[in-house]
Symmetry: D2
Subunit: 136 residues, 4 copies
Amino acid sequence: MPGPFRVKARVRMSETDAMGVVYYGQYYSYFDIARHEMLKDAGLGEHLGRGGSVGFVAAESSCRYRSSARFDDLLTLEVAVAKVGNSSVTYYNAVRKGKTLVAEGMVTDVLVDREGKPVKIPERVRAKLLGYGLPR
Amino acid sequence: MPGPFRVKARVRMSETDAMGVVYYGQYYSYFDIARHEMLKDAGLGEHLGRGGSVGFVAAESSCRYRSSARFDDLLTLEVAVAKVGNSSVTYYNAVRKGKTLVAEGMVTDVLVDREGKPVKIPERVRAKLLGYGLPR
Amino acid sequence: MPGPFRVKARVRMSETDAMGVVYYGQYYSYFDIARHEMLKDAGLGEHLGRGGSVGFVAAESSCRYRSSARFDDLLTLEVAVAKVGNSSVTYYNAVRKGKTLVAEGMVTDVLVDREGKPVKIPERVRAKLLGYGLPR
Amino acid sequence: MPGPFRVKARVRMSETDAMGVVYYGQYYSYFDIARHEMLKDAGLGEHLGRGGSVGFVAAESSCRYRSSARFDDLLTLEVAVAKVGNSSVTYYNAVRKGKTLVAEGMVTDVLVDREGKPVKIPERVRAKLLGYGLPR
């Protein structure tokens, strides 16, 4: 049963800014947490950029801010695979506070070799990623 | 003469990650630096979120990663006003290392009152922002 | 039974630097996490700087680096109250990876009023803090 | 003529927290900036951890917070060499806002080889470091 992956995270003081809320650039770090945990859950931890022969690097990112989060808020970080291309994967990310959508966005990663050249995503990896696909 | 605004920034160790390059989420902080300096240059520093009756908050952000930057690299942070809406401003941002485009992206801010309600951008502010418009 | 307080945290990519390990300044954010959770556990969450009439601000911090931590490592963040002064509290912090001590340090916070003037720590607060004292 | 080294830095929004001031752990990043620029000024840029056969790693850090800094403040980051040991260097750091001391602290780095083993500081390096010594 395909579906999104979720983890919890509590807002740290270092993640807020002088506007009193979570700094807008911090949401990309929240996206990371969910994506990394999802990849480990999928048995794809070896592609997290820890020195393998191939690894994922960021190609694009975006975020829409719907409401705000504050210090000590408990957030739900959700990620789902939106698209698997030839050498790229696009993830949909949502950050929620209870039922309230705080922010949502997309991250596209490209699988590259040690020289940074895009590499075809192996079928085994593709199949695992699609297991975390968005519900249709 | 309308045109983009530029500042320099040197990559700090704290801005890099274990991939050996600038952390992908860090580019949004680079976008900030250029935008804030531009707003001060425009005489709009009072809208930087420092306790005035109205201020800008982030509504959307996006970035495309074209190449990478490393510790101690000297970057040129460029910003231009792409669009001024009723209550929103969209900025185009580019990060360059010499002639090489490292990353580019958009940030849309909305002018809000103390309750977070969107507010019409005053004509005086709009005129100043358009002075930093993208060349046609 | 007095004793230290512990929470777990997994190293995020944004917390590492181009040396391949956790950035040395990041340990202070780890110290925060443990201290804040401890204060909430003690029922002192209202002193976390969220707009009460008094709150704790940092006066001193220090850290000794014993070994290093890497992306995705699971860390144990430990905190204990080392000393409660008239208006200050000194915390001992340790960051461990399994049995290995990664870093340890001290943070001294001062209780201040809205004007930033030091305030005597109430007996109720002092008693609760001493419940997390270092073992003798 | 021995003496401290100074650079300027403007407080970024991402460096502040919900207390409205610069996040206490951020000062270590300010210490870095001054130290790295000083080492480059000394012609010791090759020891900044960029892949040489030896490099400096942090052994200890500390900071005392004297006042606070806010978004957009212009800070003077000062660094001086307090002590050069057999394989370690201790730096004194000060962060000022105009004439006001905002924070001051120490960082001790150790020169290590690729395996992380402490290495004797070469005489050439020692002599250059002492050129940035604290005034007597």
